[in-house]
C-alpha cells in the first residue's frame, strides 16, 4: 500500500543546521521525519520530499544545568526506561509514559514529533505543558528556547516550516513538587478521550506554583487557569479534593464529539481532578 506516492527524494542530513537549511530550501511539500508515525498513519499524498533526522544524534537524555534535556528523536520508550525518569517526580512521569499507546508505538513516537504535531489527543503535549517544559528549536543559524505554552501560542506551525526541533527541556523539580496525570481511553492502547495533568508544589499541605492542563477536550491541550487559581494557597485535604472535583466538572472547557459527550467529558475531568489530589495526599 503506497500511501506516499509523490515522495521523490529523501535527505539524511548530518547536522541540525543542514536539516534546517534543507527544510527552508525544499518548500511546502517537505516533511521532517522523526519517528515517522504521523506521516505513515495519516499520510498526506502531496508530500514530495522527506528529511530524516536519523544522523543528527538527537537520541539522548542528559542533565545539563539543572535541567533534563531530551533530544527530539528520543522515543517515549527511551525516555520511560531512562535512569533520569526513575525518581523524577516520584516516578509518576515514568508510569505515565509507560501507559501511553502501546509498546510498538512507544518505540516509535518521538518527543520532537509529538511537540511538532500537537495532536489534540496527545498525552505527551499535555504532560509537557503540565511540566512547563521548554522547547529548543534550531533555525539553521541559532538555537531558540521557548516555554512550551508560549510556543503553542505563537504560529508554531509556520515556525516549523523553517526550523527543526532540537530538544525538550524539563525542570528538575525538588521533592516538594507533586505530579499526577490521568488519561481516559476506551481501551488500554487507544487515544485518550480526555487527559488531565496537575503539577503543584505542596509545602506543609499548602498548594503553590500549580499548573493544570486538560487535553483531548477534544481540542488541543490547554492550561486551565481558573482551576489553577482555585487551588492556589489552599490546604490539601480530602474536602478540598471533593470541592475541586466539583469545580472542575462545572468549569472545565470541554466539548462533545462523536466519541463522547460534553457532560461526560466534564464529569471525567472532575473525577480525575479529585483523584489526583487524593493521590497527592497519599504520597
Amino acid at each position: 500500500m503506497l500511501k506516499l506516492k509523490e515522495v521523490g527524494q529523501c535527505f539524511y542530513p548530518n547536522t541540525i543546521e543542514e536539516a534546517a537549511k534543507l527544510l527552508k530550501e525544499s518548500g511546502e511539500d517537505t516533511r521532517i521525519v522523526g519517528g515517522g508515525l504521523h506521516l505513515t498513519a495519516f499520510p498526506n499524498p502531496a508530500i514530495k520530499t522527506l528529511i530524516f533526522l536519523n544522523n543528527l544524534k538527537l537520541n539522548y537524555i542528559k542533565e545539563i544545568d539543572g535541567k533534563i534535556s531530551i533530544g527530539a528523536t528520543t522515543t517515549i520508550s527511551e525516555l520511560a526506561n531512562s535512569a533520569e525518569m526513575n525518581g523524577y517526580l516520584k516516578g509518576n512521569v515514568k508510569k505515565l509514559l509507560q501507559s501511553i499507546a502501546s509498546e510498538l508505538l512507544r518505540n516509535q513516537i518521538t518527543m520532537g514529533g509529538s511537540v511538532a504535531q500537537r495532536e489534540p489527543y496527545s498525552d505527551i503535549v499535555t504532560m509537557l505543558l503540565t511540566l512547563r517544559a521548554d522547547i529548543v528549536i534550531h533555525d539553521g543559524e541559532k538555537e531558540i528556547k521557548t516555554p512550551i505554552s508560549d510556543f503553542y501560542k505563537s504560529n508554531f506551525r509556520a515556525t516549523l516550516k523553517k526550523s527543526v526541533i532540537k530538544e525538550v527541556l524539563l525542570e528538575k523539580f525538588d521533592s516538594t513538587y507533586k505530579f499526577g496525570m490521568k488519561r481516559f481511553t476506551r481501551n488500554a492502547t487507544d487515544i485518550p478521550l480526555l487527559n488531565f495533568g496537575i503539577l503543584a508544589q505542596v509545602n506543609e499541605d499548602t498548594i503553590k506554583n500549580v499548573s493544570i492542563v486538560v487535553g483531548a477536550r477534544p481540542g488541543p491541550a490547554e492550561r486551565f487557569a481558573q482551576a489553577e487559581e482555585f487551588l492556589k494557597n489552599k490546604t490539601l485535604s480530602k474536602e478540598l479534593a471533593e470541592e475541586f472535583g466539583k469545580f472542575v466538572e462545572e468549569n472545565v472547557d470541554v466539548a462533545g464529539d462523536i466519541r463522547v459527550g460534553k457532560e461526560y467529558r466534564a464529569h471525567i475531568a472532575g473525577i480525575f481532578a479529585k483523584r489526583i489530589l487524593n493521590e497527592f495526599m497519599e504520597e
Binding site: K5, A41, F52, N54, A101, S102
Partner: protein, 155 residues
C-alpha cells in the same frame, strides 16, 4: 532508490520508492512471515526488530531505516531449531489462528533480551501492541513465563 539491510543475518539490497513502507518492501521480497493488517501501527502483526527494537513495519518507512539490522520471526528460530519462546508458545497453546504470533513473539523476544527477569506487568506491557483475537492473551502470557523458566534452565 536502493536500500541496504541486514535481515536475519544476511546482507540484502532492495530497490524501493522513497515513500514505501518497510512492511510492503519486506513482503514483496518474500519475508511473508511478517503479516500486514491495520497499516496504522495498532495491531502489531507486522512487528520486527529494527536495530534490536520491536517496531511496527506498517508505520515505518523503508527509506528511514536504510542500513538497519532487521530480525523477523524466522531470524530468532526455525522450524527445525525453534527458539525457546517459539517452543513455549506451542507448548502452552498460545498459537491458535497464528496471525498475531510472529509479532507477539518478536515483542516478547525484545523484552527478554533487555530484561531476562520481567514481572507479569512487564510482560503484559511488552505485548500490549500485539492484538490477539483468539487466545485472550492468557496462554501467551503463560507461554512467555514458561519460556523464561526454560531460558533460565538453559534448555
Amino acid at each position: 532508490m536502493k536500500v541496504h539491510y541486514k535481515i536475519n543475518g544476511e546482507e540484502k539490497e532492495f530497490d524501493i520508492q522513497p515513500g514505501e513502507l518497510l512492511l510492503d518492501v519486506l513482503r514483496r521480497n518474500n519475508y511473508t512471515e511478517i503479516k500486514g493488517n491495520c497499516y496504522l501501527g495498532t495491531c502489531g502483526a507486522c512487528a520486527v526488530l529494527i536495530n534490536e527494537v520491536a517496531k511496527a513495519t506498517c508505520t515505518t518507512l523503508a527509506a528511514q531505516v536504510n542500513n538497519a539490522e532487521i530480525i523477523t520471526i524466522k531470524g530468532i528460530g526455525t522450524i527445525s531449531e525453534p527458539h525457546l519462546l517459539q517452543k513455549a508458545f506451542v507448548e502452552k497453546g498460545a498459537v491458535q489462528c497464528g496471525f498475531c504470533t510472529p509479532g507477539t513473539i518478536i515483542s516478547a523476544y525484545a523484552l527478554l533480551k533487555n530484561n531476562p527477569d520481567p514481572t507479569e506487568e512487564d510482560i503484559k506491557r511488552s505485548i500490549d501492541g500485539n492484538l490477539c483475537r483468539c487466545t485472550g492473551y492468557v496462554q501467551q502470557i503463560e507461554a512467555i513465563k514458561f519460556a523464561i523458566k526454560l531460558l533460565k534452565g538453559g534448555k
